[in-house]
């Protein structure tokens, strides 16, 4: 895909689909790491506690809220699709997609605020 194709791909809904796909891929990459971290608890509380202490750093907290942002984006975008696909058609998809993005950002910022 070359740059000249970017014209109608500036549409909100095309971007929403791209965001949905990229966030899904990012979450898929993150999950094994998340499971490995939790698996530390097999060896007792200490290894998990060490990790939790390490993750107290601001940069890690930022990364964690970014992850929650991606999760909310992916879920809310997916819910929008489930509505399109299972209920009678409703217009206003661009608005719905934009609201979903805003809500995701709000949740992530709120979490960040709680953490710092």
């Amino acid at each position: 895909m070359t740059l000249r194709h970017l014209r109608h791909r500036q549409s909100v809904l095309w971007i929403a689909a791209l965001v949905h796909r990229l966030s899904g891929l990012a979450l898929a990459v993150f999950l094994p790491l998340h499971f490995l971290t939790l698996g530390l608890a097999i060896r007792g509380e200490a290894p998990l506690e060490t990790f939790l202490r390490w993750s107290d750093q601001p940069l890690v907290k930022l990364a964690e809220s970014a992850l929650v942002f991606l999760l909310m984006l992916h879920m809310l975008g997916g819910l929008r699709l489930l509505v399109i696909e299972n209920l009678p058609w409703r217009d206003g998809q661009k608005e719905a997609a934009t609201i979903a993005a805003g809500l995701s950002a709000a949740v992530a910022f709120f979490l960040l605020a709680c953490m710092l």
């Binding site: 898929a28 999950l31 499971f35 698996g39 509380e45």
Partner: protein
């Protein structure tokens, strides 16, 4: 994607919607309370409820991620149905195994 894969994809998504909601709330709660590893594990160890909750989450996530990844591979990589299915399937098995191990790690008394 055909009807069968679609149904599994959408069903696993629908199952996960409430699970994600609870999970995000749990994250908020643990963050506000400043829970340590010991605090968290004290709540999860020996709990059938958490075992069922996160067990279901792992299964649904493994199914959903596998089919999603397969779709992305068939559209964005040279792989087609069989190759994409095998690679995505392998990833799904990995998620399931690591996820089950993680659930066991936190709920085993």
């Amino acid at each position: 994607m055909n009807a069968r894969l679609y149904v599994w994809q959408r069903l696993s998504a629908a199952v996960m919607a409430p699970l994600v909601l609870v999970h995000v709330i749990v994250i908020f709660y643990a963050t506000r309370k400043g829970l340590s590893a010991a605090d968290i594990l004290a709540r999860t160890r020996g709990s059938a409820v958490w075992a069922a909750f996160y067990g279901a989450f792992v299964v649904a996530a493994a199914i959903h991620a596998t089919i999603g990844l397969r779709n992305v591979l068939t559209e964005w990589s040279p792989l087609q149905d069989r190759g994409a299915g095998m690679l995505a399937g392998a990833f799904g098995v990995l998620l399931f195994l690591l996820g089950t191990r993680a659930v066991v790690a936190v709920v085993l008394p």
